[in-house]
């Protein structure tokens, strides 16, 4: 096992997994408490359009998908804010648009379809130094934005109270949505587009079962997210099964155990 960690690709996989596990769980608490789980799923699908655009342009896919998905996220937030359409409708429209855009681009350059599959299902062991760079960048920005936790949390609890206290709630909403998009993109190589929403939601949902405060929920979600990655990677190595899906299965097991434990408390 320790020999395995001496391999560069395995080190990259572990590091990328840990960073993505921590950041996705951190933002997941806002996604869960604001009832935006569908946004995570929608943005993950929107990332497919960005990845396809990157492949089409012969550029590093994640570095194209990152601004592309952030842009889609901001458009969703804008439509949600400026119209009477529900947030889920805005997500539904833009994620369908992005997927359709991606499918057309991939059809135009069919030699890249196999590469796109790596993003669809995730391929943590194929994380490149460039992928790791994108993940590290998102993690660093997340750390820099930690002072926003208190503002996001306040508006999550009650938007009117936060606005009455003169917080720029609208700006904070856009920033949060953009960061969720960035985290989703950074996670697609690790768990895949199809499962990335679970990466956001499950650790946060599990943490919610045991938390008395929002700060506790945040810390516990990050711990569970990281633990899920470590346990999932070990299990996927031992049983030779896809790592992204195994991580999600481990996190789901934490959630189910949590449900059972809470019923007994």
């Amino acid at each position: 096992m320790l020999d395995l960690l001496s391999l560069p690709f395995m080190q990259r996989a572990l590091l990328a997994g840990l960073l993505v596990g921590a950041t996705a769980s951190y933002f997941g608490v806002f996604v869960v408490q604001r009832r935006m789980s569908f946004l995570g799923s929608g943005l993950a699908h929107a990332a497919l359009g960005g990845v396809a655009l990157g492949l089409f342009l012969d550029a590093e896919p994640l570095y194209v998908a990152l601004p592309f998905t952030v842009l889609i996220a901001l458009l969703i937030a804008w439509v949600r804010e400026r119209t009477e359409l529900g947030g889920d409708t805005a997500v539904g429209v833009f994620f369908s648009l992005s997927v359709a855009f991606g499918v057309v681009l991939l059809a135009l350059k069919s030699e890249y379809t196999a590469d796109a599959m790596a993003y669809l299902f995730g391929s943590i062991l194929a994380v490149t130094p460039a992928d790791l760079g994108a993940v590290a960048l998102v993690a660093a920005v997340t750390l820099l934005l930690f002072p926003f936790w208190e503002r996001w949390a306040y508006a999550t609890f009650d938007r009117d109270l936060a606005r009455a206290d003169r917080l720029p709630v609208l700006f904070d909403d856009y920033l949060l949505t953009a960061m969720v998009a960035a985290v989703v993109v950074s996670a697609v190589k690790v768990v895949g587009i199809l499962l990335v929403a679970a990466f956001l939601v499950i650790p946060a949902a599990t943490a919610r079962l045991f938390s008395r405060t929002f700060a506790q929920m945040t810390l516990l979600a990050v711990v569970l997210g990281v633990a899920g990655v470590i346990a999932g990677l070990i299990a996927s190595y031992l049983y030779d099964v896809p790592s992204g899906a195994t991580i999600i299965l481990v996190e789901s097991a934490f959630f189910l155990l949590g449900l059972l434990a809470v019923r007994k408390i």
Partner: protein, 251 residues
């Protein structure tokens, strides 16, 4: 005379719907104003204008001479309807009280914030609620926590949206005592939405009868006249005593 709140020809429209029209009002500093009116009269809209949460379609709102959206948050203590609380949000009562000081959701309370929040809870006789989860509190207990949150920053202006909802008779009387004590000690102004005309008559220095327009404003005995009530509600009896209402609700 200093005015806590001034409305200068204020109207609020949402598309073709007019929520408030031609509101002209001067609330003297130190007044205890009860705002009454039927559902849809624009009472909460009026409070939101003072809080700076809503911009008027025309006219302007001043808080102690400052345009409402620019009035410092420290001046305002807001008690929303407890029904708006998201009970799924994991939080302790003391954290909510502390938002009154920090104006953020606290990741961790400082000793100063903790002590000030406990003191505010003591003031509303809710110290034992401090470390209880918000989701587990009754309506009356929640209102006390929100009241402590409003008191903790020592605001000049208290804005309360139906604060007696969920309280029993004793709890309601207690709340009025707390409000009046705070007002006395801090020379504060109170704007409170209520459906209880009797409480308004008994505790308020001024009553604002609203139905999209100002129907009456002044001392309770004048504002709660039969004429004003009929124009606002279409009847003059206390709502608790009526099984139906008659006449038009339009002012």
């Amino acid at each position: 005379m200093e005015f806590a709140v001034e409305f200068e020809d204020v109207s609020v429209r949402f598309g073709t719907y007019t929520a408030l029209e031609g509101i002209n009002l001067k609330v003297p500093a130190g007044a205890f104003v009860a705002i009454i009116g039927p559902n849809g009269a624009g009472k909460s809209t009026l409070l939101k204008l003072v809080l700076g949460l809503l911009r008027p379609s025309s006219g302007r709102v001043l808080v102690f001479g400052v345009p409402a959206p620019r009035a410092p948050a420290e001046w305002l203590g807001y008690v929303p309807q407890f029904k708006t609380l998201d009970r799924s949000f994991p939080a302790l009562a003391i954290e909510l009280v502390a938002t009154g000081i920090r104006r953020r959701w606290p990741f961790r309370l400082s000793p100063v914030e903790r002590e000030a929040s406990l003191e505010a809870l003591r003031r509303v006789r809710g110290e034992e609620l401090a470390y209880r989860r918000l989701a587990r509190l009754s309506g009356g207990e929640l209102q006390r926590v929100y009241l402590a949150r409003a008191f903790v920053r020592r605001p000049r202006l208290l804005l309360l949206d139906e604060p007696a909802t969920g309280m029993d008779v004793l709890g309601e009387a207690d709340m009025y005592r707390m409000l009046e004590r705070y007002q006395r000690e801090h020379d504060a102004t109170v704007l409170m939405i209520t459906h209880d005309w009797e409480a308004a008559r008994h505790h308020a220095t001024h009553v604002l009868v609203l139905n999209r327009r100002v129907i009456g404003f002044g001392p309770p005995e004048r504002a709660l006249s039969d004429e004003c009530l009929r124009r606002a509600f279409g009847h003059v009896g206390h709502p608790h005593e009526l099984s139906f209402s008659v006449g038009s609700r339009d002012a």
